[in-house]
């Protein structure tokens, strides 16, 4: 599994800036749990497809559905391209 591409999404709907990150494979719970060192993880497993959220305070919030091939990153107000690149680096590291 690796990052396929990033897509900037309509910002008025979400945070100041937001991106969908698409992967070559579906997201599994084990992958989400690897983010535990970064911040707080919330998983709502009572839904048909579990919803997860990773809150990295002051930088970004990741949210997505386990079983889908993408998740959404909502950048904090003072975060920008530097934090996004840092996240991409972290994801690539976790996927190794």
């Amino acid at each position: 599994m690796r990052i396929l591409y990033l897509e900037m999404i309509e910002t008025c709907v979400e945070a100041k800036s937001a991106y969908d990150i698409f992967f070559t494979d579906i997201i599994k719970q084990g992958f989400v749990e690897k983010f535990s060192d970064l911040g707080k993880i919330i998983i709502k497993s009572n839904l048909d497809k579990p919803f997860f959220k990773v809150i990295v305070r002051g930088k970004y919030t990741i949210k997505g559905i386990i079983g889908n091939d993408n998740f959404r990153v909502l950048m904090a107000d003072n975060s920008g391209i530097e934090e996004l690149n840092e996240l991409k680096y972290i994801i690539n590291d976790l996927l190794r």
């Binding site: 709907v13 709502k44 009572n46 839904l47 048909d48 497809k49 919803f51 997505g64 559905i65 889908n68």
Partner: protein, 376 residues
């Protein structure tokens, strides 16, 4: 996909609208005023009459075609001489009203007063009257809120405006095709509408219905297909306001959308949505962790705003879309002021809005998904 975002734009469109546009694009263009086809003039003229009739207006009113409500509202705000005047708006207003006004205000040209709604989105019209002074020149009211679905008492507001000799602009974006409108009775001065919402037309079309005795400056200048040897803008209505090639497909879609509504009957469309929304309200009200934002006394059944405890609005819409294939909308819905009244600023609400084409099964699937989200 289950589409419950008709307040943003309606989907699907009636077959008759699609067929008419298909015919239009598969035939030589009928370019209003710019071809030898005399029929184009009469077609557009008939559509103006059809619109006047649909909105319960009479010969006292005219129609100007615009790209939608936003342009129609801009035409009034920048077309009237509002320098140094005061304006009254309600907290229900959309950014289509707020932003042009803030632009004028930034040049110190106007003062804006806001009549606030209560925590359910209800507006007490006496609040508007209490804000009037000798310098008030214009009142702007959103007929049906795109956040709460509440209907404003436009007739009473119009009476207040007339009593004080103040112009009234009504933003009819969510009202057109959702509730019966009788401009003759309400006697509003300006009524802005859009095609692509509950009139079932396409994006980029709409208009301004304007009282004939009122004169405002055009928003744009240029070719009108009329008195083309003149180097200055013609003064004749509606040409003075309609520079540039007309959006004929858009205008056609307004006409076909109105035809569709008239064939089904606006009352039947209202009944259908009322039935669906009563079910949604009844069901969601039974969920302890769901909060609804509306006032049952003034409710239009066009849209319902809600939130679910422990979820942000954007999380709810994201989950509904990504996990259940249900399209709703989240956020402040381009109407930020009312969220201060509702207590939902800045994250906003989730907004569900069915159309005549929404069926019971789709509502069942939506409600099932909400029950799962709201479960502990």
């Amino acid at each position: 996909m289950i589409y419950l975002n008709n307040t943003a734009t309606s989907y699907p469109k009636p077959i008759s609208v699609i067929s008419a546009l298909n015919d239009y694009f598969n035939n030589p263009p009928t370019n209003f005023g710019r071809s030898s086809a005399q029929s184009s003039l009469s077609i557009i003229g008939k559509i103006r009459e059809q619109i006047i009739d649909f909105f319960g207006a009479n010969d006292d009113y005219n129609v100007v075609f615009t790209s939608g409500s936003t342009e129609a509202i801009n035409l009034v705000i920048f077309g009237l001489d509002l320098s140094t005047k005061e304006l009254i708006i309600t907290s229900n207003e959309h950014n289509a009203v707020i932003r042009p006004l803030m632009e004028l205000k930034s040049h110190n040209k106007i003062d804006i007063k806001i009549a606030d709604c209560d925590e359910n989105g209800h507006l007490d019209v006496t609040k508007i009257e209490s804000l009037i002074n000798e310098n008030t020149a214009l009142i702007i009211v959103n007929y049906v809120s795109n956040v709460t679905g509440n209907i404003q008492d436009v007739k009473s507001i119009s009476q207040i405006a007339k009593k004080h000799n103040i112009k009234l602009l009504v933003d009819g974006s969510q009202a057109a095709g959702n509730i019966p409108i009788h401009l003759n009775e309400s006697q509003v001065d300006f009524f802005a509408f859009t095609s692509h919402k509950s009139l079932y037309g396409i994006q980029g079309s709409g208009g301004l219905i304007i009282k004939k005795n009122l004169d405002i400056k055009p928003l744009k200048y240029g070719g009108t297909g009329f008195k083309s040897t003149m180097l200055t803008q013609p003064d004749e209505f509606p040409y003075k306001y309609e520079s540039g090639t007309q959006n004929i497909p858009g205008i056609l879609s307004i006409s076909k959308g109105i035809e569709f509504i008239n064939e089904i009957g606006l009352d039947n469309i209202i009944l259908h949505k009322e039935k669906l929304m009563k079910r949604v309200i009844h069901d969601l009200s039974s969920i302890e962790r769901v909060k609804l934002y509306f006032d049952i006394q003034d409710y239009s059944n066009s849209v319902l705003s809600f939130n679910i405890e422990d979820y942000t609005p954007d999380e709810v819409s994201y989950i509904l879309q990504s996990s259940y294939g249900i399209e709703v909308r989240s956020g402040v819905h381009c109407a930020p002021l009312v969220h201060h009244n509702l207590g939902t600023y800045p994250s906003g609400t989730v907004r569900v809005s069915p159309s005549y084409f929404t069926n019971d099964n789709e509502i069942t699937m939506f409600l099932d998904a909400i029950h799962k989200l709201a479960a502990e």
